[in-house]
Subunit: 305 residues, 2 copies
């Protein structure tokens, strides 16, 4: 088993009511590989600029992450800045610097074609599709995106959405792509548009999955405090993909468990700035939070119900 993760490594500037960081290890791929590596062996395919600080990159070392696919290109590393509002459900993106990701042409290290699972974290949809096309016969493929690509590259994104087994988009993105106000209707519309399975991430309120054979709703984990929501969605999708990769077989019950593990890893992510909490969380903590999800949400079938 092994999971290929492709996406951005970036340097983030983040302001939340709880504080601020700058030049911090970030980008969709960072959160995804850290989450996924709690479940399985991960292969990271990404590009950084020659300005990427060595000590930030070293944070990814000593884990189940194969860094052979991380190449350094001449130029500037991708950068992202955001400022969160008081209630943390809204943020202003201050800037997105594409940097070396603007012209990246990914090449797969030899031996990576056999990846059992692939997660294309937010990145250009054409690049996502190119990378998926390099794989022999992946069992499961998952893609994420961000508003930038919905706005600028919607046609390419729609093509990529149809070749993946799962899309993992957030509520606002699903609404924008379908014009539907209701999350359930948006998910159903995505399936009508040719998406195989749609995961809609609801931030603090949980997540929903709609597939041809299943409809699942996961409640949000009731966190006492959110320090920084950055990367929670990437960690969710990375954790989901990692859990699927590690699973012997995949049926609807497996996918539901993957959704809960994904929620669990996302809930840890927001407990610290950037990837700081994700860098220290253990599989044991994750398993405990999974059980806690069960305790928090379980209810009995009623005599009549």
């Amino acid at each position: 088993m092994s999971l290929l993760v492709s996406g951005w490594l970036a340097l983030d500037e983040i302001k939340t009511p709880a504080g601020a960081v700058e030049g911090s290890l970030g980008g969709s791929a960072t959160f995804a590989v850290l989450a996924a590596s709690l479940f399985t062996d991960v292969r990271l395919l990404a590009v950084i600029g020659d300005d990427f600080p060595e000590h930030e990159l070293r944070k990814l070392e000593g884990r189940r992450i194969d860094m052979e696919g991380v190449v350094t290109a001449d130029g500037e590393t991708s950068r992202w800045g955001a400022s969160y509002h008081a209630d943390m459900n809204e943020r202003d993106t201050l800037y997105t610097v594409l940097g070396v990701n603007e012209s990246w042409e990914p090449r797969l290290p030899s031996g990576w074609k056999d990846s059992r699972t692939a997660f294309m974290a937010a990145g250009h949809p054409t690049v996502q599709r190119d990378v998926l096309g390099m794989l022999d016969d992946p069992r499961s493929t998952v893609i994420d995106t961000i508003k930038l690509f919905i706005d600028n590259d919607r046609d390419e994104l729609r093509k990529t959405m149809r070749v993946a087994d799962y899309i993992a988009f957030n509520e606002g993105e699903a609404r924008e792509l379908t014009g539907m106000v209701s999350v359930a209707a948006a998910a159903a519309t995505l399936l009508e548009q040719g998406v195989r399975s749609a995961i809609i991430k609801l931030g603090e309120y949980g997540a929903m999955l709609k597939s041809p054979t299943d409809h699942f709703v996961a409640a949000g984990y009731p966190l006492d405090e959110v320090i920084d929501p950055t990367g929670a969605g990437d960690a969710f999708a990375g954790g989901f993909s990692g859990y699927l990769d590690a699973a012997e077989t995949i049926d609807d019950a497996t996918v539901r468990r993957a959704m809960i593990y994904a929620s669990a890893v996302a809930s840890f992510t927001v407990e610290g700035f950037g990837p700081s909490r994700l860098l220290e969380v253990t599989r044991e903590e994750l398993d405990a939070r999974y059980r806690e999800f069960r305790d928090l949400t379980h209810f009995e079938v009623d005599d009549r119900g």
Copy 2:
């Protein structure tokens, strides 16, 4: 068994992206008694003005609702007008006319002191506490409120919050009363402030319950279309109270089932304008939706989780 419900009967003017109604049967008590009467015998304590249209009131007839406590006073019936935004999670209150509720002094019909359960739907907190004080020894008491009373009568509301067994407030109200951004932290803070059990209603995203012995999170029902969110919170709390009243014994598992039945009845409420859908829903439909909640949210304990 019997559930006393006290609150407002009003005439509503509602505008949503799906349409508009005016002079429609509404008010917190309307939604609460219709929801509750699906589970148990309900006693309605409320005041209307001499302008209340007979045909609107007749909509409550022929159900498990004892109308002996509905008195007609000289003056104007309470009125409420609201306009919902495109995503239905936000609304502008156009006006609130207190009318005869401004000076209502409720009197309990003889024989109603023995009510096993009481739900004080949104109304003046002093009136809520007065009515609760008229009962002999209710097994469970539940109160709701609205922003109007948080803003204008906060001290009285805080007193009433401490005498009820459950408060059922929405997310924004819980935040405003505690100053906490996190819903979980708001619920915990309410308990520290002397509330016995706090139910936080999350609208389309479900609900949470925090008590000294339990913490439960209910996911939202994935509706394809919301026609009118008005009264969903009242129906939730009315359904919750009705289910508790009908239960032989009450333990944490009972309360969790009540939360899911409350979610189910609230999900029907928003499928029509005002109480129109609630007026026609059957117990069989409700039981089926309860089972659907179970199917939508169930997941197995993992080997490791």
